[in-house]
Symmetry: C2
Amino acid sequence: MRAHVRIIGTGLIGTSLGIALTNAGYDVALDDPSPTARWLARDLRAGRIDVDEAPDVVVVAAPPDVCGAAVVDALTRWPEAVVTDVASVKEVILREVLSSGADASRYVGSHPMAGRERSGAAAARADLFDGRAWVIVPHDSTDARSVQAVRSIATDVGAAVRTMPAAEHDAAVAAVSHLPQLAASIVAAGLRDLPEPAVGLAGQGLRDVTRIAASDPRLWTQILYGNAPALVHVLREVQEHVAEVVAALEAVAAGRAEGALGTLSRVLEAGNLGHARIPGKHGAPPAAYEVVSVVIPDEPGSLARLFADVGEAGINLEDLQLEHGIGQAVGVAYLSVVPGSVEPLLETLAHRGWRVHQ
Amino acid sequence: MRAHVRIIGTGLIGTSLGIALTNAGYDVALDDPSPTARWLARDLRAGRIDVDEAPDVVVVAAPPDVCGAAVVDALTRWPEAVVTDVASVKEVILREVLSSGADASRYVGSHPMAGRERSGAAAARADLFDGRAWVIVPHDSTDARSVQAVRSIATDVGAAVRTMPAAEHDAAVAAVSHLPQLAASIVAAGLRDLPEPAVGLAGQGLRDVTRIAASDPRLWTQILYGNAPALVHVLREVQEHVAEVVAALEAVAAGRAEGALGTLSRVLEAGNLGHARIPGKHGAPPAAYEVVSVVIPDEPGSLARLFADVGEAGINLEDLQLEHGIGQAVGVAYLSVVPGSVEPLLETLAHRGWRVHQ
């Protein structure tokens, strides 16, 4: 039978995990310092509350700043239990556990790469981990049984397990998660005092770059705080790039163009190369999809009609992006399909009266 | 009858404008130093080529670095014609025109806020300007007739006209367009030398922040180059923010946390505030839509089934985002609808067997 899992902290991640594990047949006990948080999680069917029996596995889903202490506490309170945590930063927590003198062989860190702009149990979703990466972070004294126990939990909620050491994990998320968050926030911060007409020129590019600037400052402050060393390393490189660009643009403004164009295009080309490395759908290498754009009238059911027509053509959409213009009631849908599907798609849609373009 | 418009430069913007104006009943003449570029644009029905008669309006859609010279040349060659350009930066061009001694009263700058990651006539779209902002940039000596002529062209291709002085325009695009491009490129540049497992942790946030890092370096080098002074001003602020964050994180890494949390959360909160100012759909103030998420099986026609079901419920999607997990064949669609539509939508979809979450 499935293990008895105790989840400490019933926020977005803890509650979503509770729901997913309960659905997967686990016996889940919920714990949270806030009674109302516990009750809400229970009502969302994330598990039982006020449970005392010893768990097989403890998952600490507490805020980053109390996570380490909660892991140490769990290792001490339940001498047989495997303990893991789901914090976005792993080295600080590992250090705290190792220095605590608690039995670290039963601790293995983990980090499900899942989240939303919304936080709290109310935003919980049973499928939050579906198809997401779940990083497992063993250390020198972790025993195999503990790694296996956490691996089972991750795979049973549909996540794809990756294993890497704490330092490597923290350096990775600094580059692929924490820097993008800071970049989005800093670009968006520049809009705060912009004149209204200027903000009115915002396009899809700005929207995409700043989408995650809407994230929860309280949570992210703790995440960045917890990954200080790795993040400083990444930000130093950014500072060099920005300084190069500023120097080049100052030279241009001063009428000295030599080398400036070279510097600017080097940065932009480096961006092309880095962007090309981002995995595409389902972590597969980015496939060369063709994009077909369709003009969408802004009326009820128009997207429905479009996709019904696409469906009847038996074509699978690999990706989809919806773009909104301003000042006019019309949008453009970008449909990504495999090259072989472009012709049939264009034909079908044009035949059914859509304004399509490749 | 409609005016005779001569378009100089048959790349993405020039060719798209030619097609849109031809559809709108204008008599369009195309000009480009490259014969093959001219022929392609003509074959795409963007207008006639090898035309000599004097135009009523000249639209210069040449690359930024030759745009000013082309405007001056047009003002001189056709003494009656209104001349505009579509370059993304306006002050450099205005200066060149004013200092040239040509009749500047017939020049009015403009900037259609439209483009794609792809460039060239082959990427042209008749609807490229549909619902986009088109900034008209008059100067002290521009006469009213010239402004009116350019305004007609913009509105006839479906754009929403905005009017602002060159300096104001350049400062605006530095913040809402050029900085986001640099931020995306610099964040993406950091991925170039990242270990493969680290890149494998890339999520939707990174994808969004770096999407425009795929843009054409040749074009963007010229755009950034042309807006050097305004961009330096914006980048100085960015440097201050980054320096603050680095100092705070270094203090944390050195065990001195005082004030660090405050600095980090100030930057993240400023990002929240700036992000909230970005106009939503159709330039309307961002509406409070509710988001319903639906799990999508990765099989042909599944999106079609979803939208058919949404359509039959008679519900209008305000926005849509498709998210791909890694390692598993499943995606999540986020459907934005007005609050009143949430319940009926959840009900309809659940009833039809979809895994929905609010």
